[in-house]
Chain length 156, copies 2
């Protein structure tokens, strides 16, 4: 077959897009419209302890201003709440709400379901080996779900 390198790149992008689009569409259908991958990552980082804008910025490799905007968006949609930090009057502590945890759980479920469909399609062993090879090729870069500023691609 010997596809070209460019096609290979496109294939990866297509696979990612396919999963993410599925998730976005499904989440919208389940009452979480406008929920984008960026939000998912931010929410994860907040749940993991990034409880202020500056903190979130550092963890997601983005300026604190950008992080503040993301938090504002999450706040507006009810995925997080913020309150003044009693320990430090400069800070505002951000916390994930029940709705926030819900959207994370649903997102995970949707992606897991998509993965299951693929598993059925090409076989469990094949998918496992595909994943294993990807891990080798990509290395650690993809593992830290907290980090990427490179999730900016999104749906749009």
């Amino acid at each position: 077959m010997s596809r070209s390198g460019a096609d290979l790149a496109l294939l990866f992008l297509g696979a990612y897009r396919s999963l993410v689009d599925t998730a976005t569409t499904e989440l919208a259908a389940r009452g979480h419209a406008e929920f984008k991958p960026v939000h998912e990552f931010a929410l994860r980082a907040i749940a993991a302890g990034a409880d202020s804008a500056s903190d979130l910025g550092r963890r997601t490799s983005v300026s604190k201003q950008a992080a503040a905007k993301t938090i504002a968006a999450l706040l507006e949609r009810g995925y997080v709440v913020s309150s003044p930090d009693p320990q430090d009057a400069r800070r505002k502590r951000v916390e994930v709400t029940a709705r926030g945890f819900d959207v994370m759980a649903q997102g995970e479920a949707v992606l897991e379901a998509a993965r299951k469909r693929w598993e059925i399609q090409i076989g469990s062993a094949q998918l496992a080996s595909l994943e294993a090879h990807l891990v080798i090729l990509v290395g650690d870069a993809a593992i830290q779900a907290d980090a990427p500023g490179w999730v900016a691609d999104d749906s749009q």
Copy 2:
């Protein structure tokens, strides 16, 4: 191993990013700084016959204004030239320059080299099967290199 669906998505994104970053960096080192995937796709479309802004817009599923901006960027960097169409005074015909063909060839070569490295790393048969499975999973969506507005992710 049974990785989660979210990890799988991240893995795909990581693989894509890895290839694209390699290509962008390499191209920059070879005298094509600031050349982004979007430019690559536009250039390909132009070479394939999209010789006007409106045309390019249609082919890459983007507004003609956005296409015009992309053309302006390519123009500025010397990858295309434009001239009034003698047949139709409304149009400006866009053509890929030698430099434009060069960057396309180099890009292809760089990606091909990256693919070769992976082939060595995990084995030729493994890479082939990975690609074959991806083709099954992604379907036709990734094949038409001309289309995607979804290459907006980029380096930045």
